[in-house]
């Protein structure tokens, strides 16, 4: 049985004058200890997916429909007390910006100890000892001293390490990391990712990595979901998606990587912008930006279905494939 099984998850935002759909029938599975990447541009619904898994959406967002089965229990149906037992304990989250994630008026020690004591019967001293061990695991030097420091006394990279340590405090089954390095200096981004990967592997922890960086996804994850305007448009093994993307949007994303361009050549980009939630176009949401769009694309929403090694939601995927094959033959 899979650790996490999301079925037909629909999230809506009740705005003043209308209700918009932020997630539209998301379904995916995650096996124990598996690492999954969720990629897409800003506004695709990646973070909302992440927060939904912990039922942490803040108003005006709400889960309208669907199931989130975590170890067989539906997170959507849990009451506050049941949710509290899952959050931070069996499912932990790493937030985007370490500069604003930790409470500025509480010491690192207080914030670690309270997490442990919220879920286990421990004395403060016992909890501090566990905290020290976990801080060592994320390569924080002199961890005993750090416990009595406030967040503002530490650098962004160190804070994110501490947040990773907090996520690992209670040996969770799943960690959701929402763009954990976006707010950090480029030089330490790789370190943090490596650390996260190492700890997830050694502790057999499942990981959902939300990012817009395909390079990171290819190194960190086994499977990948590509999201666009609140839907999954392509999913499959990370290697397949990176090496042989099927959806024109995924292809565009991969072509936009700087590594795909020769020095001096202009970086490629997908024309246009992601539609806002209030104005998602009819049919395939990607059609206004897609060079292959047909009338069918403009009127019917494509369903996700198996194609080769991946699942993809595109009407024209077959035509696309044959055209590309022909081009390759010519070349």
């Amino acid at each position: 049985m899979s650790l996490l099984s999301v079925r037909d998850l629909t999230v809506k935002f009740a705005m003043r004058d209308q209700t918009v759909t932020a997630l539209n029938g998301i379904s995916f599975d995650l096996a124990k200890g598996e690492r999954l990447g969720i990629v897409g541009e800003s506004g695709a619904g990646k973070s909302i997916t992440g927060f939904s898994l912990l039922n942490l959406l803040s108003r005006p967002g709400y889960i309208d429909n669907g199931q989130i089965l975590f170890d067989g229990e539906d997170v959507v149906k849990m009451n506050d007390q049941q949710l509290r037992k899952v959050r931070g304990n069996r499912m932990a989250m790493i937030f985007q910006d370490p500069m604003v994630t930790l409470n500025p008026v509480l010491t690192i020690g207080q914030q670690m100890v309270e997490t442990l004591r919220a879920h286990r019967k421990l004395s403060v001293e016992e909890a501090r000892q566990i905290a020290v061990v976990k801080l060592r695991e994320v390569y924080i030097n002199s961890p005993e001293e750090r416990l009595d420091q406030y967040p503002h006394e530490l650098s962004g990279g160190m804070r994110q390490r501490i947040i990773i340590a907090i996520a690992l405090l209670l040996d969770p089954q799943l960690i959701i990391a929402d763009e954990p390095t976006t707010a950090l200096d480029v030089t330490i981004q790789a370190d943090i990712m490596e650390l996260l990967l190492e700890l997830c592997q050694s502790n057999q922890v499942g990981l959902i990595l939300i990012t817009h960086d395909l390079g990171v996804v290819s190194q960190m994850t086994e499977r990948t979901l590509v999201m666009y305007a609140g839907r999954i448009i392509e999913s499959g093994r990370t290697r397949s998606i990176i090496n042989d993307p099927q959806h024109p949007y995924t292809q565009g994303l991969i072509n936009a990587l700087p590594q795909q361009t020769l020095p001096g050549e202009q970086l490629r980009q997908i024309p246009g912008n992601m539609p806002t939630l209030a104005q998602v176009p009819n049919g395939c949401a990607f059609n206004p930006r897609c060079t292959f769009a047909t009338d069918t694309c403009r009127s019917q929403i494509p369903q996700i279905s198996h194609y080769g090694e991946v699942e993809v939601a595109c009407h024209e995927v077959q035509r696309l494939q044959s055209e590309q094959a022909r081009e390759e033959e010519k070349a």
Binding site: R87, V105, L106
Partner: protein, 326 residues
Amino acid sequence: MFAYLVKRVFQAIAVMFVISLIAFAIQGNLGDPLRELVGQSVSEEVRQQLRDELGLNDSFVQQYLRFAGNALQGDLGTSYFFKEPALDVILKKLPATLELVFGATLIIIGLSVPLGVYTAIKPNAILSKVIMGLSIVGISVPVFLTAILMIFVFSVEFGWLPSFGRGDIVHVWGYWDTNFATVDGWLHIVMPSIALASIMLPLFVRLIRAEMMEVLQSEYVRYATAKGINPWRIYFVHALKNTLLPVITVGGVQIGTMVAYTILTETVFQWPGMGFMFLEAVNRVDTPLIVAYLIVVGFIFVVTNTIVDLIYGLVNPTVNLARMGA
């Protein structure tokens, strides 16, 4: 820390200088003190002689320097009416006022935190809307009206509470007179304290509510929820501590303001404190006493603000007093 203290003390001295200048400048504009001192029947020559003796014919700068020199030695002039040093007169009235301010502060702190937190956590509850509505009423109704209304209801109609004076006071520490040692003293201080708190309390409820609502939207509160922390701990440890930081700063200024507000409250309740004394001094054109009062109140303001800033530095870990002022 020490450098910061020195800096604050210099600031305080500068502020006190300005206050003394303003207070002293009033002196020349409050009518002729001679009229109050000697009445109608004294001849013009004697008046001139008295003016010379009192130094009223000297230039402003001369008079100010003399005043400031004396003030530095603790002499703020002699009250025309009491024929006693003005500072002594004020210091005798000070305990009554400070106890009144203390009573009002207790009410404000005791009620504003729970009410502010409740209305922030449950902004849509009916009770929250009632509290917010009442707070507008509280801010809008002037202190003297609240006071008179309370006297009418609780003293005149029901006869539960005394309407004026301090009642049984107990002399403690050789100097201080306290209301808090006898039941009668407590009964006397209840209504004046409520009246004095009636403006500040709603202000603080609204301030705490607004700050708390903002803090509850913050990322670290969401993170605490994601860690599975009990909501009560989130409200009272994570959120409240951050909420109170700006409230402390505003609160310090307001305590000073409350000392000034006592003029109205003390007058309605015939409370024998500084405020009541000040109003009488104005009626009697007792200029040295008026000036001394302004300086003492200014001094209380400066001291409370300095203390509040120091407390803020101790409560907020991101403020490092050791490094400040360096």
